[in-house]
């Protein structure tokens, strides 16, 4: 970097910091009792020092000061990736699955609870991934399908005593129908209108759940939902038992998550998956190639909704209680953040994203309040610095612009 460029960089930094102070101080410093500068200056100084250090490090890196570390590190990581690539994928999958299966024996109750949340969000993330990642339709009301699934099971279980296993496909079906009802009028719209309309639909579903007292019991929610039950060997004979404990529920959701992963993987590698990708990349071109774009979009929407519905039914059986509180916009934003962070269209990416967004905050419990603040910032910054996510999706085939 030349000296004028460097000067420009630091001048920009100074202006940005000045700007930051002007924005920060009025929020913190002006109180009815009087003006105060200490707190805001302290926060500002910390931010300024940290960003100055980061900027300086970046500049040094551009100069090549850290080459003596980064070159060997890069070489080592390349060797490692090559070695890892040589091991077939199925061996890795077996390792991961075995780890997931023995997980409850090695950990305690609290860890089971977190693991169940992570798995539920993996299902949701993968479902949204079909819509956003594969078909490129931004859906901001995805949590509505989760809600539809949860309420389907809750109502059928409480009023008719239907079993969880019977309700699971029903929840998926209801969610798919809801997806079609929402999708049909909206999917003809311009891409970015879809975002705001789905957001509106998500809110409508929540408001209806909140106000339809006779059906959903409003904000009080529905109590007394049954856990999943199975027939199992017990004391030498087959008996019906409820899978009420956390370990048992863990295995239920693990099974559901594995099914979801397999299903999404299969969709991705099918003709339909390619049609999704074609619609995402260029709708006009896709239509010219004979893809029924509206039908494909509707299909993506309904498929995403099914996974949301399944996860919702499990959620109801795990909590034994549903209320509209659980289906707010923030939840939709969380699931979306997972997909974006992990990598749109990438299955391992979404799993990584769910782990990062659910498990990490559990470790930093003390910073609970800052969670969404950080997520929002990370989401915006990801688009700037790594728009493809932590674990970018592999694209099928070869593209003319990459081929040379």
């Amino acid at each position: 970097m030349t000296i004028p460029a460097s000067r420009k960089l630091w001048l920009g930094y100074a202006v940005a910091m000045l700007w930051l102070y002007v924005l920060l101080w009025p929020l913190i410093g002006i109180k009815p009792e009087g003006l105060e500068f200490a707190t805001s200056t302290e926060i500002w100084a910390k931010l300024a020092v940290v960003s100055a250090i980061l900027l300086a490090l970046w500049q040094l890196k551009q100069r090549g000061v850290f080459d003596f570390v980064s070159r060997p590190a890069q070489a080592a990581s390349q060797v490692f990736t090559k070695a890892a690539d040589r091991v077939p994928t199925w061996i890795w999958l077996v390792f991961v699955l075995a780890g997931a299966l023995v997980f409850p024996f090695l950990t305690e109750r609290y860890a089971h609870d977190v693991a169940i949340s992570v798995l539920v969000y993996i299902c949701l993330g993968l479902g949204l991934n079909v819509v956003v990642g594969m078909a490129g339709l931004l859906d901001l009301g995805y949590i509505a399908f989760y809600g539809v699934g949860a309420y389907t099971y809750a109502l059928l279980s409480v009023h008719f005593g239907l079993s969880f296993w019977l309700c699971l496909p029903l929840a998926g079906a209801f969610a798919a129908v809801a997806g079609c009802i929402i999708g049909y009028p909206t999917l003809r719209m311009r891409g970015d209108y879809l975002a705001i309309v789905t957001l509106g639909f998500g809110e409508i579903v929540r408001i209806v759940l909140n106000n339809w007292m006779s059906l959903t019991n409003g904000p009080n929610g529905i109590l007394g939902i049954k856990a999943p039950g199975v027939y199992w060997w017990q004391d030498g004979k087959v008996e019906h038992i409820w899978l009420g404990s956390l370990e048992q529920l863990y295995y239920v959701i693990l099974g559901l998550a594995v099914c979801t992963v397999v299903a999404v993987y299969r969709i991705n590698n099918s003709r339909i998956g390619r049609a999704f990708e074609a619609v995402r990349e260029d709708q006009t071109a896709a239509e010219l190639m004979g893809v029924n774009t509206l039908g494909i979009k509707l299909l993506a929407y309904a498929m995403g909704a099914i996974f949301g519905g399944l996860a919702g039914a499990f959620f109801a059986s795990r909590m034994r209680f549903v209320s509209p509180e659980s289906f707010t916009f923030i939840e939709s934003a969380m699931v979306l953040a997972m997909v974006v962070l992990g990598g749109m269209g990438s299955i391992p990416g979404v799993i990584l994203g769910a782990l990062a967004l659910i498990a990490l905050p559990e470790i930093f419990r003390g910073f609970e309040l800052y969670r969404m603040f950080v997520f929002g910032g990370v989401m915006a910054m990801m688009m700037l610095f790594r728009p493809k996510g932590l674990w970018p999706a592999k694209r099928m085939g070869v593209r003319s612009e990459e081929k040379d």
Partner: protein, 300 residues
């Protein structure tokens, strides 16, 4: 009849506020085709800046109208700076990337700002000090408070000011040219970057005024108040025809009226639903809105 008149008065007040917020959405969409999700948060930040400044000035013993006027001007400046910072930081570097990434970063910014407000101002409602403007009068059985008169007055002044700026000045001409065709306007020497930045600032200032007025009208502000209002204001912008300034004003008024009348005559629990239904209906049957849209579809 009395109920009708009363709702009419309330509808005009609310509709004016929606119109102010809708203008920010429509101007930004008209120029860079971005649903600026962070706009609702700018509105909330305006409400907070109002409460912060007015509480401080009232504590210093200034008369209410001075407080209101000074707070309005300062807070509008603050929000303009905030919106420009957001634009420079996350939207400008993404100007050539896909629409989905800009939309996602806008959403991220919205969550970031909303939680930033929560962290600095607390989770609970913050009340506006006392009643700034007391009393009212009666027309044909409908109560009109002086507060409503003040709100409608400020709204009208701002809307007329904006109209003059956009349709009568050189800067306004540059803005309209940029919204029509960025490449062509750049060729005739208009600095598109500066115009975009300015559009964000103007939209934010209007949203900020709306935030302060909503705060005064309902008596308090909350960190997440920008979310639902933002969606409604966007509906208003779409209803009027996105990118169309006159359309946004009209759309805001219509959405405000519909909400108030629906709450009065149909159901107050579902009042938030009506705006969404209108949005969906308009997009389905009349995607270009009442006044026709005005959007430059080329990307720079």
């Amino acid at each position: 009849m009395e109920v009708f008149l009363q709702q009419l008065v309330n509808g005009i007040t609310l509709g004016g506020v929606y119109a102010l917020v809708a203008l920010g959405y429509t101007m930004v969409y008209g120029i860079i085709q971005l649903i600026n999700f962070a706009h609702g948060e700018i509105f909330a930040a305006g409400g907070y800046m109002g409460v912060i400044l007015i509480s401080w000035m009232v504590a210093q013993g200034y008369p209410p109208f001075v407080c209101l006027g000074v707070a309005l001007v300062l807070a509008m400046g603050y929000c303009a700076l905030l919106a420009m910072a957001v634009e420079k930081l996350v939207y400008k570097p993404l100007r050539s990337s896909s629409r989905l990434s800009v939309l996602l970063s806008a959403l991220g910014m919205s969550i970031f700002l909303q939680n930033g407000l929560m962290l600095t101002q607390g989770v609970y409602d913050r009340a506006y000090p006392g009643e700034m403007v007391r009393g009212g009068f009666e027309i044909g059985g409908a109560m009109v408070s002086y507060m409503q008169i003040v709100i409608v007055g400020i709204t009208v002044v701002l809307l007329v000011g904006l109209n003059t700026l956009v349709f009568k000045t050189r800067v306004g001409k540059a803005m309209r040219a940029t919204a029509q065709d960025k490449t062509m306007s750049a060729l005739v020497g208009i600095n598109a970057s500066r115009i975009i930045s300015m559009t964000f600032a103007i939209g934010a200032a209007l949203a900020c005024a709306a935030g302060i007025m909503v705060g005064m009208y309902y008596g308090s502000v909350r960190y997440d108040m920008g979310f639902v209002l933002g969606v409604k204001a966007f509906s208003a912008a779409v209803l009027g025809g996105i990118g169309n300034i006159t359309g946004a004003m009209l759309g805001g008024l219509i959405i405000g009226m519909i909400e108030v009348f629906a709450a009065g005559y149909i159901s107050s629990e579902y009042k938030d639903v009506f705006a969404f239904i209108i949005l969906i209906g308009v997009l389905y049957f009349m995607p270009t809105g009442i006044m026709g849209e005005n959007v430059d579809d080329t990307r720079v």
